[in-house]
């Protein structure tokens, strides 16, 4: 592992090889009626080819916004206000819209969060597959659909999206965006939340297999720690728009450094000790991104005065990068 210079003092260098994706101090702001809402702040990480980064965090922590910003497809009322995104040597934020469009799909793919509404309701599914995959022949189609366990729908491709289940649609989207296009970088926004357990396992296996076969690099967003532990090489924990901890998957589970990560892990059923009541994290994330200081301070069990005044810088503790004033202390 070559120690990289840490731009902005906040990088999370990837453990292997040169970075395919390099994000530095990224900030995204929404303009709303109540003023500007920062949804992503000072997010930095590197991703090596073939690496899978899991992103966890509760709903509203900015995971989807981060992925949309990487695609440069933010809604009209949102904008990237700071930072840098490097992709395979290209500065994505300096790219013209047309150049960016050429990267989408072919080199940076996205599996959307809501499969039920992600295909056009007025065109048959088969035709939409052909829109996205040029020169799709019968054999290739069979291979793609078989790959996601959808061999059975081959003769139903002239049906419309509403005639399929959410799980089938999600697998169709994966077949197109991941298997069909085989992008260098795949951004997956909760790709398995709508699937039942067996299908979920099948899809996860498929994505891992694709990584091994073609060196797929992936950012995998979920709020399910169980899923993320199965697929990720490294895990990033988001809280109120900030990446509060990034660590190799094993390290994160064995030695969580940030109080929020700890609280998350303790909230998983089955991990807490028998007889102890299941813990949830007290308080809510609401308004956290407007306060000065550490966004987690109002809910933190290990809070000290300093946390309310000063936002912590990134610190390196073991193999983890943590944004906490008390990181490294034995709490």
């Amino acid at each position: 592992m070559a120690p990289e210079p840490k731009a902005g003092g906040a990088a999370a260098p990837s453990p292997a090889g040169p970075a395919l994706l390099s994000v530095r101090d990224l900030a995204v702001t929404f303009r709303t009626r109540d003023g500007e809402v920062p949804a992503v702040r000072e997010v930095s990480f590197d991703l090596a080819r073939g690496e899978i980064l899991g992103l966890v965090g509760e709903s509203g922590s900015g995971k989807s916004t981060l992925l949309t910003a990487l695609m440069r497809m933010l809604p009209r009322n949102a904008g990237i206000t700071a930072g840098h995104i490097g992709f395979d040597g290209t500065d994505l934020l300096a790219l013209r819209e047309d150049g960016m469009r050429r990267l989408r799909g072919d080199r940076i793919g996205l599996i959307p969060q809501r499969p039920m509404t992600s295909l056009s309701p007025t065109t048959s599914v088969g035709r939409q597959l052909r829109w996205h995959l040029d020169g799709l022949d019968e054999g290739r189609l069979k291979e793609l659909l078989g790959g996601v366990g959808l061999g059975a729908v081959l003769d139903r491709l002239d049906s419309y999206p509403f005639e399929f289940s959410g799980g089938q649609l999600q697998r169709l989207l994966i077949a197109v965006a991941a298997l069909g296009k085989q992008p260098d970088l795949l951004l997956a926004d909760e790709p398995t939340t709508t699937l039942d357990a067996t299908v979920q396992a099948q899809v996860l296996r498929l994505l891992l297999e694709l990584r091994d076969r073609v060196g797929l690099t992936m950012v995998f967003v979920t709020h399910d720690l169980g899923v993320i532990s199965q697929v990720s090489d490294r895990i990033g924990v988001m809280y109120a728009g900030r990446l509060v901890e990034v660590a190799p998957a094993r390290e994160l589970f064995d030695a969580p450094r940030h109080p929020y990560t700890r609280a998350l892990l303790e909230a998983i059923p089955g991990r807490h000790r028998r007889g102890e009541p299941l813990r949830s994290i007290p308080g809510t994330v609401t308004g956290a991104n407007r306060l000065p200081g550490c966004p987690f301070a109002p809910r933190c069990a290990a809070v000290v005065d300093r946390c309310h005044e000063e936002n912590p810088e990134v610190r390196e503790v073991g193999e983890s990068l943590v944004r906490c004033h008390r990181a490294g202390e034995d709490l």
């Binding site: 695609m71 497809m73 809604p75 469009r101 050429r102 990267l103 989408r104 799909g105 072919d106 793919g109 996205l110 959307p112 809501r114 509404t117 992600s118 295909l119 056009s120 309701p121 007025t122 065109t123 048959s124 829109w131 996205h132 419309y160 509403f162 005639e163 989207l173 197109v176 965006a177 296009k181």
Partner: protein
């Protein structure tokens, strides 16, 4: 599908019958009558009785109604009380005029409305968008008869000779003059509807642009033009088609005002005269024809909706929707 159309046509016939019955009794309940209109002031009782007998008005109203239904069933709409010509002949002369006017207005304003709406949505918040938005509000607040009067005054008094502002030349007589004559009345007839169509398409395209399926297509690298054509327009046109269907009523009923202002011999002008003179057969026939055109047009739009929306189509095919 065929069964659906059959059911709709049967429903349509029932609605027509109800409308005609209502008009039949309302005409007779209204003060005054064809005899007064026919004979003028203070006729002698003998003369009155004679004319009443000639018009069949001396019989009890139920007998008149039964006769009317019988004639209707055999396709006989009777003669005009005043000109004594068969009503069907009068309709045959006047209907093509109204249809041409309505159709011209409809086609023109649907095309203009759709183009303006799509352009405004595509260039959202631009100058063009502002123009369409402000222009459509202004257009909506102008009553069509007022606009018609203004056009008649402007083109009849101030800029004479550019476009005819009164009267009608049949297409068979002089096609060019006929088309020139359609311009102003068609413009006045559909301006408001064009504005509604533009606003609806604009709003539903903007709504559609935010849809997940548009984001996904863009995330797959589909070029914007293709996204617009294959996805945004295709989906945004569905609510717009419904609105266009509703507007058909305006195009038909609006001819009453516009034809009278521009002095065009269509159904709209005839219907006003027929009701004023209590010309029962002619009034009934005009009502029948107007209502039929309106109902058939709505049926066509519903069928179009069915073609555009696969969800409804599938519902019909597997019997889950009625």
């Amino acid at each position: 599908m065929l069964r659906y159309v059959g059911r709709r046509v049967a429903g349509l016939a029932l609605v027509l019958l109800i409308v005609l019955t209502l008009v039949f009794f309302m005409l007779r309940a209204a003060p005054g009558g064809p005899v007064d209109a026919y004979l003028g002031m203070n006729p002698t009782p003998e003369k009155r009785a004679e004319v009443e007998h000639r018009f069949g008005l001396d019989q009890p109203i139920w007998v008149q109604y039964a006769k009317f239904l019988g004639n209707l069933a055999s396709g006989d709409l009777g003669n005009s009380l005043f000109s004594d010509r068969p009503v069907s002949a009068i309709i045959g002369e006047r209907l093509p005029v109204t249809l041409e006017l309505s159709l011209a207005a409809f086609l023109f304003w649907v095309v203009v409305g759709l183009a303006a709406g799509a352009l405004a949505a595509r260039r959202r918040d631009s100058f063009v968008d502002g123009l369409v938005r402000v222009g459509s509000v202004v257009a909506l607040s102008i009553p069509s008869f007022w606009l018609a009067l203004v056009l008649v005054v402007v083109f009849g008094l101030y800029i004479k000779g550019v476009l005819p502002s009164s009267g009608w030349v049949p297409f068979t007589e002089d096609p060019w003059e006929n088309l020139r004559g359609v311009v102003l009345p068609a413009f006045a007839l559909g301006l408001g509807s064009g504005a509604v169509i533009a606003r609806t398409l604009r709003a539903s395209m903007i709504e559609t642009t935010r849809a997940d399926y548009v984001s996904f297509a863009r995330a797959m690298g589909m070029p914007e033009r293709r996204v617009l054509r294959r996805i945004t327009l295709r989906n945004a046109i569905i609510p717009t088609a419904t609105v266009i269907g509703l507007m058909l009523g305006v195009f038909v009923s609006g001819t009453v005002l516009v034809e009278n202002v521009f002095n065009i011999p269509g159904i709209g002008q005839t219907i006003v005269g027929a009701f004023r003179q209590h010309d029962y057969p002619l009034a009934i026939a005009c009502t029948l024809i107007t209502a039929t055109v309106f109902l058939v047009a709505n049926l066509v739009v519903d069928l179009l909706y069915f073609v555009l929306n696969p969800r409804i189509r599938a519902g019909f095919l597997n019997g889950t929707a009625r």
